[in-house]
Subunit: 328 residues, 2 copies
Amino acid sequence: MDSKKIVTIGGGTGNFTVLSGLKEYKHQLSAIVSMADDGGSTGVLRTELGVLPPGDVRQCLVALSRSSALLRDLFTYRFESGRFEGANLGNLFLSALQKITGDFDTAVQRTGEVLRIRGSVIPVTTENITLVATLSDGFVVRGQAEINNTVLTAAVSLTLDPMPRANPRALAAIAEADLVVIGPGDLFTSIIPNLLVRGVPAALSSSSARKVYVANLVNKPNHTKDFHVADYALVIEKYLGARAFDAVIYNTEPPSAELLSRYAREGERPVRSDGEGFEGAAYRAIGAPLLSEKIVAPQNPHDQIERTLIRHDSVKLAKVLLEQFLDR
Amino acid sequence: MDSKKIVTIGGGTGNFTVLSGLKEYKHQLSAIVSMADDGGSTGVLRTELGVLPPGDVRQCLVALSRSSALLRDLFTYRFESGRFEGANLGNLFLSALQKITGDFDTAVQRTGEVLRIRGSVIPVTTENITLVATLSDGFVVRGQAEINNTVLTAAVSLTLDPMPRANPRALAAIAEADLVVIGPGDLFTSIIPNLLVRGVPAALSSSSARKVYVANLVNKPNHTKDFHVADYALVIEKYLGARAFDAVIYNTEPPSAELLSRYAREGERPVRSDGEGFEGAAYRAIGAPLLSEKIVAPQNPHDQIERTLIRHDSVKLAKVLLEQFLDR
């Protein structure tokens, strides 16, 4: 099959999963990445150095890297003691390059060269933004980390401050795409912050690409408790319009009882996907077994990834995406 | 002329100068680097992460790099605020790689690949050592940073704790060399710590290489006040034996009155090089104009290099070395 242009949209972890599977094929990949993160090591760098958030971008760079496993490990490495405890080497690398070049987008592209990435990693905007949530009672919460600690409902209203212009590279990638994959990822803090950026909804609407949303596997107790796959889609349609995507892909494979009980202790349950939720949807709902059979141990105590032991299998997900939408 | 094998021995700044000039020629370069540094950003990393000192090695890697100026700038970059203030990105890169690989020498070699260096950078030992100075009154000072703050005389006795074995790569490079260049660099804290390492004096003695000492330009008030070039050579001969080198190269070009007065305010004066000091020397004393005409501004407030505004011109120095010893 010809090489097609595929755009992924999300945060660090979800993009990492989708890109890891797709990079085994010969398609041209562009990862559009949320710039709203302000927690953890990334938050420290934003506050103390005044840089843009490197963490999600760095995960995408590592996903697309064709360099040695050692160099990819290095960019994932976190220091374990002293004043550097919890600091990620890849984040420091990107932040230092931003300081030197004065331009985060250039820093991302030069880091991509060092990591010999296949494809492009594109910060959705290069303006310094804060995610702002206005709750249904009018209460306002500023910042992604704070929002993560806040109980939200689908009625929350999200915005960015300031309301930024899109990175022109992001709009160009969407315009030229054959397939756009949104998600998986935290709905309110990784997915929507991309769709709020000025120019992105219009670019998606006018692109002739097929557009697909990949639903999460597990509901986040604070944000999407008891959500059905269709509830995720509905929230996204609120920001993108009624015919935002051609299809929604969701998992049909039940996690093991052991994993389920481990998650239940944290109040986390699988995203609901019974047929009734899809009544009257404007998209095709495509169920498939997408669960990873590997149980991934936490990489290190600072790693945000540690919670997602119920994971997508990136190989299965890539196959479904290509078979359903690009007739590979 | 055929490609010859040249070994340089010193710390970060002196090696940087010699390598920067020599790398424009086609010879095979190996930089052997002191591992005694425990001050500044390097000292923080040693203490807090338990790694070997990366700073001097990093300067040599940058000197030999054929990568973009941006990547070389990145490895020289120091963070300017927050908990990372003063931390050098290249030092963090090397330290993280040491943590991942468990082996500093491997970390140096892999970093050399990222920076696409021409030649080799070789830590003189990969054991975790402390430089120890026993003063003429028997008082013992431990650690390079402490020793830098201590008034020494030529009678000081230096040793390493523990007394380490040499890096086998260092011994091999010396054995195969056509030319060995020792210095310039701080005599007691950058040069001698290489010569103390077990195996290095014997390797130098049995190597058929021409051996040259490049004298410093400025005396260090605490350590080499009023030293003549010959006094430096005498101290080195104390550790290497009476016929340690074939030649000593020193500068004959007077610095400007302005620079001299700026240095005099810090109690620093040019190394003496009047002919009388060389009476009875076992080496050729070669004087040449070696001063840099550029006045280099301090790169940033954390940079150790800022003091050496009276600098060697690396191009002039390389030419003298090659003309005098390799008939280029």
